[in-house]
Structure formats: C-alpha cells, structure tokens
Symmetry: C2
Subunit: 413 residues, 2 copies
C-alpha cells in the first residue's frame, strides 16, 4: 500500500466544532521539539499556565493542560475530585450533561441528575433546590452545551455552592473565549476546556484550572508513583486513574517537576498559541467578536426563512440550531453543502437528530467572510433541496447586523 | 504580559526520548483541519489503522489511536481488559514496569509482581513459573524499558500465555519501529505505543492494537453512553473510565462511528505520517538502521572510555546507558552539553539517578550525523568536567562501525 502525505481538502468548518484552526496555531505546532525538562520547555509550560489563568479569568496556581481531548479534562476533574460513594449533582440540559453524569458514575460516585427539556437552561433557584435535596459534594454543570446551543447562566450559582459547601465544577469546552466566563468572580472550583471551539485550535489538549479549595481536595489524595520518588506516603483514597491523577499532574507542572508523562509538546505549542492569540486580542474583544458574528448568523438564518431552535435568550454566541425544513433530508443536504461548497455544518445528537442543523461561528471562523459564504451557500443548498427560501434573505439580514455593529478596536475582524 | 510566538531553540535530542520529530511529521501537523466525520477524516482514520497494523505486524481489526500520551494507551488497555479483582502479573525490570503495576492497581486488580535487578531481563521460564504461581488473567510486560535500556525477549512468552490461558499485553512505546516486534507471530493480545521514540513523532498519540481475543473481552463490557445511542443495554462490568473505554473507542473507529470524543486531528495527522514513513522505509530497514546507529553509539561511548550499564546482549537498539565517571556531576555536565552544544542526553530514574546517563539514537535521530556530533561534543564535555577521556576515541570507534556496515537499500540513512 502506498499512502500519500496528508493532503486534506480545504473545508470551511461551520459546525459546532471542531472548527478551522488559526493558521498561527498550525504553524506553532510545526515548530521543532525540545526535551521535556529543557529550560525552554518548562518556560513554555509556565507561560501556558499564566496564559490560561488569563483565559479562565482566575488566579488559580493549578492551571495546566491535561494531555487529551476535552473529555480527558472532564474525566481528570471528576475522578480526582470524587471518591467512590461521594454524591455528585449533574443538571443536564443536553448531551454534554450526560457525559459528566456517565463519568462520575464510572468513578463510583452516587450521581443525582436533574433535567430540563433540550433547548432550555436551569434557573439558579432550581439548582439551589436540587442541591438542598441531594446534598452533593460536587455540582457538575456544563456552561455551554453545543447539542442544544444553550448557555447556562453560572453567575449566581457559585455563591449558592459556597453557602451550601458544595464544590462547583463546569465544562467550558464549548464556550471559553467566545462567551463571558469568570472563574474567580463566579466562584468556580474547577473548570475544564478544549482548544477546538472558540480557541481556534485542534482537539487534543485540555486546559484545566482548580481553585485552591479544589486543589486541596485533590492533594488530599496525593500518591506518588513507585519508581519516581520515595518517601512520600499516600494519603486519602487513591485516585482511580494514574493518567488523570491531577495531584501527580500538578507535581509535573509545579516546582517539583515530577515525571508523570511525557508532555505532548506539539499540542502544548498549540495550546499556548491559542491562549496567546486570545490574550493579544483581549478576552472582552474576542467575546464581542463571537457575539457579533453569532448575531449575524442568527439573523441570516432567520432572514432565509429558517426557524431557530431553543431559547434564543440563552443561546451561546458561537452556535445556533435551526430546524431542518419539512421534506428536506438533513444529512443529504449537509453532504451536498460539503461536496459542492466545501462547507461543513453540523448534524445533531439524540432527540434532535434529523430535526435540526447546528451552525457554528467560532474561533478562527468567527469572521464575516466565513458567515457570508455560509449563508450564501445554504440558500443555494436549500433551494436545491426543494425548500422554500427567501432569495438573498440570509446575506441581506446578516449585512444589516454588520452595518449596525461596531467591534471594539482590538477585536480581530 | 506579552508572550511571543513559539520560538524553540534548536536542540539535538539524544536522550531516551522524546527525540526530534521528522520534519515531515511536523509538516503533517500543520495541515488544515477537516471535520471529524468528513469522508477525508474517516479515510485518514482507516488508513492510520492499516498503517499501524503494519507497524505492529498484526492483522488485528482493533488497531487504532488513543488520544493522549503513551500512558493513555497503557491505561486504556489495562482498565478495559481488567475488572476489579482480576489478577494481573507484572514482571518489573525498570521504571516502566512500575507503571502498569500502578495502573492495574488503581483499576482494582490484584497485582502480582516479579522483579529482576535493573539492567537484567526475565527468562521465559521465570515468567512461566510466575504465571503458574499466580494464575493471572493478564500478563503485563514492557518490551523495552528505557530506564535500564533493556529489551525483554517476548518471542516465547506468547506461547506460554496461550497454553496457560493468560492474556498477554506489552508496552512497546520505547521499541516500536526500532526493534523487532511481531504482534501476531509472538501471540500478543494487546500492545500500546507512543510516537516520540523510534517513530519520530511528538508525544501525544498512543497507537493501540487488540487481538480478537482481547477485543472480545473488552466488548464483553460494552456500554454505550446515554445521549449517544439507544437500545444497546450494558453487558459485563462497566469499564471504570469513559475516556479509556476501548469498547467505545472501537465503536468510534469502526463502522458505527459512534461519537466518543473529538479526534485530535493534528495528532492523528502526525501519527499517520509517522507510520507512513515507517512503511515507506520498511520496518526491517528501520530496525536495521536503529541497530547500526545504536551500535555506533555504543562503540563510540566505549571508545571514549566510558563503561556501559546493564546486560548489553539485551540492550535495546535505540538507547544505551553509560556510567557517569567518578567525580563528574552528571546533571551539571548534561546542562553544559545542552548550553554549549545544543545537545540533550538523558538523566535517570530511581536507583540509577546520578549514576548513569542515557543516550538515545532513535527515530529521526538514528542517523550518522546525529551520532557523530554527539560523540564529539561528549568528549569535550567530559574533558571540561575533568574526566579521563580518550581523545578521538569516540568518533573513531563509531567510524569503524560505519565503515564495516552496510545498511539495506531502503533504509533512510
């Protein structure tokens, strides 16, 4: 078999993520490697920690990368914080709430769930009632769930958790860098993310931050691997995973530099560059940019005659779901859009599969010249599929948003 | 804070890995992303499976990548194959034997260990006696342990395992592509690897292969995540990790393409290119190349007057350990080599720390023009550190090896 060098087709990725990486992130990944304890490498690690403190809006010392996709960060947080038998409360408002439920269950936690209909979010008082009823050690609540496009308000929930003595964890994979998130101000104890959404990188590295309170819980279960260092006896219930043991991962990223794994150097280069670009743009500017292009996409899709799914007031800036018009085969239409226009939009999970498409405007693709071609192509695609569509309605409505809007000076596009 | 674009220093990485990546692998990683279910992407996934079947020398359908460093593959194999209470036998001949012991213990397995002195390997009969005494479900045996440079012979052990009904797992992170490995011929049930040693890639992706027998064990514990697909009830004891659930990962890489994670696209590009380059060179040629340059390095270090650590008959092709001469501060000398010559050699773990350096010749750096500069620089470094050294003895002895040797026509250098 002769296999060629990677020759990927040019795609404009306008689904719910992964999205196209910023070319500067791709370039960073092609930089030469250095050794894992090279002063250059440990310097990059320290810079990366500081850059993600800025991204998460936190002063948490324990801000680092877990080597794996965003699910790796979620599992690391949950397996390190929860001991078997601990109670965990998971409010679920889409597919990505099922994930912490599932992971916490596999850790042996006693998992309690609350659910709202897909397309809705929880009120703070509903969360408070659920905490009062279940008395969990940890609340695991996704911020943005791309399966429904909903952005769960978190502002008031940290205070509730502090008052009731509950650790508060959130997954910000889908939201970080494109929606307001304030780790310290909102009282979060743990947050995990990924690069492939608003951060404009590839999947494969998971930024994680732990509050001092959460780090203390994890360090209470510290247990150094035999063969690495002697003299420190295990304390607390040993964490059920070696790879996801955040106590050991903190030792690797901290002063001790105890070997735990060989850091995925190229992915670290990518993660560093993602956060560097975010810091250079300014987080507020990046959020404003995602809001603008998200509004343009929303207006464009409506202007074309499509119906938006879910509670638009709580929609994430970076993704929108629209109902597939009657009579249109959603997957066939998506395939046509990919083959004829090189543009990818997203299908859906579970109860929404076949009913809605999900369209993203995030990271490098939160740009006018990504939004406008997508709307133009979708109009043609819908017409070909036999759907009623307002000619020029999509791009026209988006253009009106752009005419009225003004981005902050520092925002990228 | 203003942080610059990644500006890594040029390093020649001659430690036990990570090593410099082949420039073609770095280039592959900078290719544009495609969507995770794009026909191009699923095509790359299928090609990657086939390329790693060639690398592992197997026909196993279940040959795929786990998204993480090599430890991720190890943990995925052990947590997916072992249920709590299962007996696991771990023969330990260096640091990397402690790792499966530790991981299997965290999975709740009843772990039995055997140990030989660092620098030695196990005989097949010693393994057979240990199996007879402990009756494990699984034998976990590292092939090459860079902490001691030993290459554990595996040829006869698969037969023993089959006869005694034991699953046979090995970690080939440090050996694959540079030392003979025959997954099917030797009767392995599971093997896991990494890219950062002989495969000339960065850390961050772990190729894994499961025999049909091992895949059956894993699939006996299959449990599909809620919110993804309905109708398939869990069977067997649920795997204690979601991220490392090889049953779900097989579904993602298989026909079903059930969403489990968002594949780390750039790392997949890297993994594919590593195995593509290996296939293009030919595995036998690649092993011969590693053997030649390993021999040249060994001869050169001895020619300089250094004493080699461990049982040289069982030394891996790609790494050698030498005793640090009396009176030389090993870490200070390594630092001088890095700062003055841009060359990195390795320190050591546990009982060998401060006693030996480890020097690698692997992947892209299994080349004459990596070996010779390293020997030349080490002579100067040793002289500066006040050690007795044979002037010109290192490069002279290596040159003799190169003069006598002839690489197969297809080998790279």
């Amino acid at each position: 078999m002769t296999t060629e060098q990677i020759p990927p087709p040019q795609r404009l990725l306008m689904g719910p993520g992964p999205t196209n990486a910023d070319p500067r992130v791709l370039r960073a990944m092609s930089a030469p490697l250095v050794g894992q304890y090279d002063p250059a490498m440990t310097g990059y690690m320290n810079e990366t920690m500081e850059l993600y403190r800025q991204a998460f809006r936190t002063r948490n010392q324990a801000t680092l990368l877990v080597d794996g996709t965003s699910g790796a960060g979620i599992e690391a947080a949950l397996v390190s914080l929860n001991e078997p038998g601990d109670r965990v409360l998971v409010p679920i408002f889409g597919r990505f709430g099922h994930l912490p439920k599932e992971i916490a269950g596999r850790c042996g936690a006693e998992v309690h769930v609350r659910e709202v209909e897909w397309g809705q979010v929880f009120t703070p008082s509903a969360i408070e009632r659920a905490i009062a009823a279940t008395r969990p050690k940890l609340l695991a609540l996704v911020q943005g769930d791309t399966s429904t496009t909903m952005n769960q308000p978190l502002e008031e929930i940290g205070q509730i958790c502090r008052r009731l003595g509950v650790l508060f964890y959130t997954d910000v994979t889908a939201t970080l860098g494109g929606n307001v998130f304030e780790m310290d101000l909102w009282g979060l104890d743990a947050a995990t993310s990924g690069l492939q959404k608003c951060l404009a990188g590839p999947s494969g590295s998971s930024p994680v931050s732990l509050s001092p309170r959460a780090a203390e819980v994890v360090n209470g279960r510290r247990h150094v691997e035999a063969g690495i260092a002697d003299g420190s006896a295990p304390v607390g219930t040993r964490i059920a995973s070696n790879y996801f043991d955040l106590a050991m991962i903190m030792d690797y990223w901290g002063q001790a530099r105890l070997n735990h794994h060989t850091e995925a150097t190229s992915m670290l280069y990518a993660a560093r560059e993602c956060a560097r670009l975010l810091a250079a743009e300014g987080i507020d500017n990046a959020v404003a940019r995602h809001r603008l292009h998200g509004e343009a996409m929303l207006a464009g899709l409506r202007g074309m005659g499509l119906e938006v799914f879910g509670d638009v007031v709580h929609k994430m800036n970076n993704v929108v779901a629209v109902r597939i018009p009657d009579g249109v085969d959603g997957d066939a239409a998506r395939t046509a859009l990919l083959e004829d226009y090189g543009i990818e939009i997203g299908t859906s999970f579970g109860p929404l599969h076949g009913k809605v498409w999900r369209i993203g405007t995030m990271g490098y693709n939160a740009r006018k010249d990504a939004v406008m071609p997508t709307l133009a192509a979708m109009e043609q695609m819908l017409r070909s599929a036999g759907a009623a569509v307002v000619a020029g309605g999509g791009t026209g409505a988006a253009r009106e948003i752009y005419q009225d809007a003004r981005l902050p000076a520092g925002a990228r596009a």
